[in-house]
Symmetry: C2
Amino acid sequence: MMLPLAITMGDLNGVGPEILARAFARPGFAREIAPVVLGCPQAYAHARALCSDAPPAVLVNSAAEAVAALDRGLPFLADTFRAPERRPGVLDADAGRAAMHWLARAVDLAVAGEVAGVVTCPINKEGIHLAGHTSRGHTDFIAQRTGAPAYRMSLVVRDLLVIHISDHVSLRAALDEVRCDRIVESIRLADETLRRLGRPKRRIAVAGLNPHAGEAGAFGSEERDEIAPAVALCRAEGIECSGPHSPDAIFRQAIAGGYDAVIAMYHDQGHIPMKLAGLDDGVNITLGIPIVRTSVDHGTAYDIAGTGAAREQSLMAACRLAARLGRTKARAR
Amino acid sequence: MMLPLAITMGDLNGVGPEILARAFARPGFAREIAPVVLGCPQAYAHARALCSDAPPAVLVNSAAEAVAALDRGLPFLADTFRAPERRPGVLDADAGRAAMHWLARAVDLAVAGEVAGVVTCPINKEGIHLAGHTSRGHTDFIAQRTGAPAYRMSLVVRDLLVIHISDHVSLRAALDEVRCDRIVESIRLADETLRRLGRPKRRIAVAGLNPHAGEAGAFGSEERDEIAPAVALCRAEGIECSGPHSPDAIFRQAIAGGYDAVIAMYHDQGHIPMKLAGLDDGVNITLGIPIVRTSVDHGTAYDIAGTGAAREQSLMAACRLAARLGRTKARAR
C-alpha cells in the first residue's frame, strides 16, 4: 500500500493555501504524490477561489484513508482544532498557533509510520513567537520533537544537494562550528542521502572556509586543521569526496554538473549561490532526523498572499523529493 | 588627444599573451581602446601563432607614440628589460620578475598621466614570490606604489558593481573589518565610481553580514551596530543606499537589475554570486587608488596556456571599463 505524504498548510495567512491549490490543480500530481493535508479546509477553499482547476477539499479521518479519497478531491485530515479565518497578509498569533498544531500532528504521523514523510509550507516566525512558541522555526521544532539535535539543513536545487555545517547562527558563531567532526558527519549524511535518492554517482565537494580556500595557509588555518583531515577520513571510509575547494569556484562547477553534493561551511556560502541558481524550484531537506522532511524554499510572502501570484514549483519539487526519499526509506524497513 | 591605455602582459607563461592576441584580433577593438602593451613582443609573437588574425607587435618609444602606431600593429613599449623565453604552463621566477617590471612601469606611466589607466593580465603569485617580491599580488603592489593603503577590490559583471569591505584575509579576520567607517568609505566609493561610469541611477544595496541579515538581532549584532548606522550616515549625505539586506536574496535582486552596486561584507559574499553570474566577462577594479586600474577576472590558467583555448572576453571587458573610467577622469582634470 502506498503511504501518503503529509503536507502542512503552514501560516494560513501566507501563500500556503494558494500553492497547495495550484500544485494539486496540476493533472496527475495528486496521484503521483498521494497527499494528506494538515491544514484548514476553509482557508483552502478561500485560496481555491483563485484557482478554479484545484480539486475540492475532502475530509478523511486517518492518513490511511487518504489514498482512496483522492478520487473525490484533496484529502484533509479531520481535526477538532479551530483555525482562524484566513486574512491574507495579516500577522496573527492564532494563525501561528494553527501552523504549529498541524506541524506537530504531521511529525507525529511520520514518527508513527503512518505517512511517508512531511512537506511543510511556510510559517511566519513572528507569528509562531506571538503564539508562544520558542523554537526558531520549523526545523528546530521538528528536531526537538524527534529528539535529533544534530540535524543539518540542506538545500536541493535540481540535481545538486548542498549541506550546511551550521545554519541560523551569527557568522562569528558559525566559524566555531567549522570542526572536523561536524564536517565528517555532514559528508557521511551527503553520501547517505545521495544513496537514498538512488543516485549512481555520489561525488561530494567540500568547500573551504576562507577566500581561495585559504591559499595554502596564507589566510586562515581551518582548511589545514579541520577540513582537509575530514576529507581524508571520509575518503579512507570509501566516500568519494574532495576538497577543500575554493568557495568562489566550487558552486559554479557543481551547478554545472561536476559534483552531486557540496558541503558548505556556513549558511550563506551555500544559500547565496543556490538562491541564485534555483529560480523557483529550490527545496530544503532536513537531514539527520528520523523522518523524511522537506520544505519549500520560500517564506509566507505576505506581500503577494491572496493575489494568486505565488508559484507552486518549489512545493511540487519538495513533494517529489520527499516522495522519493520516503519510498527508499519504506523499502529499507 | 586620446590617451592610450597601458595593458600589462602579466605572466608570459600564462594565458596573457594569448588573450592579448585574441582581443586585438577583433576588428576595431584596438582603435576603440588605444592600447600600449607592457610586455614581451616575442612572447606575443609566440601566442599570435595560435591566432592568425592578430596584428603584429610594433615597438614604440613612448606611450604618446602608441595611437599613431595603431595603423601598423599592436604597440608595445620598447624596453631594455630582457624577458625569458615563453614556456606555456611553466612556473618561472624570471617570468614573475618580468611581470612585476611591466606592472611597475605601467603604474608609473599612469601616475605621470601618460596613460589613461592600467589593465592587467594575470600573474602567478608563486612566480612573483620566487622572484623575491613580497606583495600579495598585483593590487597590493599597486596600492603600495601609489601610496594608497585604503584601497578596495571590486568586481563588475555587466552592469553591476560589487565592492568588498575586505579581500584576501581569513574569514575570521574579515569579521573584524566589518566596521561602520569602512562601510561608509565603501558606499561613498561605490557612489563616486557609478558617477564616473556615467550611470544615471546609483542605487546602492548594502548586504548584511549574518544569515537573513541577522533576523532583527536574533543572530549577530553587526547589522545593528555597524551596518545600519553606515547606511543612515550615507543616506544623510544624499547617497541612495539601503540595507542591511539579506545576503542570500540581495545578489539575485541586484543581478536582475534592482540595484547598481552592492557592498559585500567579505570576499566570498561578493565573489560567489559574481563568479556564478559572470560567465566570461567579469572584471576587477581597484578603487581608492589615484589611478584607473582594472584587471581580468581569472588567473594565469597554466593548464590551458599555449593551447589557444583561453577566452578574451574578460580582458576586453576590463579594457572597456578602464577606458570609460579613464576618459571621465581625464575630463575631470
